[in-house]
């Protein structure tokens, strides 16, 4: 009872799926349980406990800050309650009413946006070059870019101050935006290059054969393909620029002072107004929370950074 005699098999073979499709199907084969340790025994209740406890740990200080932001300063220092006894919006009113307070947020947002735009616009062509071509000194250049990420901001605090003073750029948004580029551009190039390398060269070549000029090809064809990469890079640029304090404070005095610097200012002679401080803090968390919410679907994929 052998398997020969199948005359039908001598000719063309029905198209078989590519390896990638096979892989996709293999990955989509439903797991019995939903954790990486699926089906290997172990208590899944216990497993769910770990991230839960961790998240509780993360949320506790934030909850406490929010709690405090709704209390008057005297209530804070005199009593200790888990929820405000006399909840008040006064702290928030102070911030929204005082230009030196809310100006800080606006200033921060301005230079963060400028930085993200600048970083992305210079990083895109550079990443394209690294991804598509070899050229003199390319490996060294790439490595040099990455080492800038390893530079301690503290080392650059004073030199930046002197440099930007020389150009009369102290206390401008542009100064902070440019200064942050030192750290953000290498990261953006690295991330974008990874995503770009995932797009086959054939697509570029086909476009050129079809008569696309380079700018048109780049904008209409290439950029949509790496859209998630641009999102990830923008996310990281925003993340770093928004949170960094030292350089931002060093380079600004009043006009472009970031909110983080404004907050440290409340350490005044009249003592700390904890309530206002807390409210200011809460307000700085909100942009971050919004950004995460909007990119939440890309977070897990994005951290894979295309090449990791």
């Amino acid at each position: 009872m052998s398997g020969e005699g199948a005359r039908g098999g001598a000719g063309a073979i029905p198209p078989s799926t590519s390896a990638e499709e096979a892989l996709e199907r293999a990955e989509e084969a439903p797991a019995k349980e939903s954790s990486p340790l699926a089906g290997l025994g172990g208590n899944s209740r216990l497993k769910a406990l770990v991230p839960t406890l961790y998240i509780v740990f993360l949320m506790l200080p934030i909850y406490w800050l929010i709690n405090m932001s709704f209390k008057h300063n005297n209530e804070i220092v005199s009593t200790f309650t888990l929820f405000p006894e006399n909840p008040t919006l006064d702290n928030y009113r102070v911030i929204f009413g005082d230009p030196s307070w809310y100006g800080g947020y606006i200033d921060s947002l301005i230079y963060v946006v400028i930085n993200t735009l600048v970083s992305l616009s210079v990083a895109l062509p550079a990443a394209y070059a690294f991804s598509r071509y070899r050229f003199l000194g390319d490996k060294h250049m790439f490595f040099w870019l990455l080492t800038n990420r390893m530079a301690p901001p503290a080392v650059f605090a004073l030199p930046f101050f002197q440099l930007y003073s020389a150009f009369g750029l102290i206390d401008t948004h542009v100064a902070v935006a440019l200064a942050h580029c030192l750290f953000n551009v290498p990261l953006a190039v690295w991330i974008l290059e990874g995503f770009m390398s995932g797009v086959p060269r054939e697509i570029d070549e086909t476009a050129f054969v079809d008569g696309y000029s380079f700018p048109r090809f780049f904008v209409k064809i290439f950029i949509p393909l790496i859209a998630s990469g641009i999102g990830v890079a923008a996310f990281f640029c925003f993340m770093f620029s928004w949170v960094e304090l030292l350089i931002a404070r060093t380079l600004t005095v009043t006009d472009a002072k970031p909110i983080s610097a404004v907050m440290t200012r409340t350490n005044s002679a009249t003592g700390l107004d904890w309530g206002v401080l807390a409210a200011a803090g809460v307000l700085t968390i909100i942009p971050g929370a919004l950004v995460i919410y909007f990119v939440r679907n890309y977070i897990a994929k994005g951290f894979a950074l295309g090449r990791v």
């Binding site: 005699g5 005359r7 001598a10 000719g11 078989s16 799926t17 390896a19 096979a22």
Partner: protein, 361 residues
């Protein structure tokens, strides 16, 4: 070695299945004989991987039972069922050498080191991997890695059955044949029950003694390759097996005469009475293309669209009244200008509602 019995087995991925459409696997009752080489053949999404995973224990069926010999193993996890599975892409432990990879399943089961070494070196020889024993498994190429995956299954003593889930998917075409031959050798040597899932009919028909053809979650036919070729029990089997597949044409049947494309053909066998339209199936190998005048009344006028020269034979693709028709002719034959197709009556199958209608008596 074990006899694997499927008892009213069915599976639905949704928690509350309402109708047949919700079932990825419709009810199956079948027994796989001990030591047989089986292929599960069908297009993507037909349920063959689901069935395989149920047999191996990676998936729990939503209804029905599965028995190894007489033991109900439906609730048992894979490691207790004594099966081995080879996946679509090689699954190896990157950090280990080839030899360590093969030793892994044995060490996990507490086998003594001396015995492990002996088994591993035997397996290395069987798989022609002795020279690679000390190499990091990660550095090998795809077919060697698949052999390691296979070896991890064979190296165990207690294996009831080996299940293959499209194992040649990532193998280079010229290595596929080698690996297939190796699998056949191993089957003859070790006599394990082997179940091989594939959508490639060549793999299925050359590997298996019996082929299980599946379509949309149902088993449509189980038979030897010859049976599948000569008497497909479902029009899908006819279409799927063979290259090109079987021609399916509408017609009517009365007694022993079938009416197709306006011609009446006497089949020489008596069929039960059927009023509704039926379909006939005839393989291109049994359709001759003659000159219209020469064929006379037995020939059906055919307009030829293309002729593909495969080498040892030619495929004539054309149309007759009632639909498309493919015919296989010898490489030396030429296609006449006014062509007619002549069917071999002995090779015509009749299908009612896609299922084979058998002659009476």
């Amino acid at each position: 070695m074990a006899r694997i019995t499927l008892d009213a087995l069915a599976h639905s991925y949704s928690p509350n299945p309402t109708g047949p459409a919700d079932y990825a696997l419709k009810q199956i009752d079948y027994a796989w004989e001990d030591g047989g080489a089986y292929a599960l053949l069908g297009p993507s999404g037909c349920g063959k991987t689901t069935l395989l995973n149920i047999i191996s224990g990676l998936l729990s069926p939503s209804s029905g039972r599965i028995l190894f010999d007489e033991r109900d193993v439906t609730g048992l996890s894979p490691e207790r069922r004594n099966i081995a599975q080879v996946f679509q892409f090689p699954v190896i432990y990157d950090t280990m050498t080839v030899a360590e990879n093969l030793a892994f399943p044995l060490l996990n089961r507490g086998v003594e080191r001396a015995e492990v070494d002996k088994r591993v070196s035997e397996m290395l020889e069987t798989l022609d991997l002795t020279t690679q024993a000390r190499r990091r498994a990660r550095g090998l190429n795809a077919d060697e890695k698949q052999k390691i995956s296979l070896g991890r299954g064979l190296v165990r003593y207690d294996v009831n059955a080996i299940l293959f889930d499209e194992p040649l998917t990532v193998i280079d075409p010229h290595m596929k044949w080698q690996l297939r031959t190796k699998l056949k050798e191993l089957h003859e040597q070790f006599a394990h029950t082997m179940i091989y899932v594939t959508h490639d009919q060549t793999e299925a028909l050359t590997f298996a003694d019996k082929v299980v053809v599946m379509y949309e979650g149902e088993v449509v036919q189980i038979g030897t390759p010859e049976q599948l070729f000569d008497e497909p029990e479902h029009t899908f089997v006819g279409y799927f097996i063979g290259s090109p597949g079987m021609n399916i044409l509408p017609g009517r049947i009365e007694g022993s005469t079938v009416t197709v494309a306006g011609r009446q053909i006497d089949l020489g066998r008596d069929y039960p009475a059927v009023e509704e339209p039926i379909e006939i199936g005839i393989r291109p190998e049994f359709v001759a293309v003659r000159e219209a005048r020469e064929a006379g009344t037995s020939g059906v006028p055919m307009s030829v669209r293309t002729v593909e020269d495969i080498g040892r034979y030619k495929i004539v693709r054309g149309e007759i009244e009632g639909g498309r028709l493919d015919a296989v002719i010898d490489e030396s034959d030429s296609v006449p200008t006014s062509a007619a197709a002549v069917f071999d009556p002995a090779r015509i199958n009749v299908y009612r509602d896609s299922h084979l209608l058998r002659a009476r008596g």
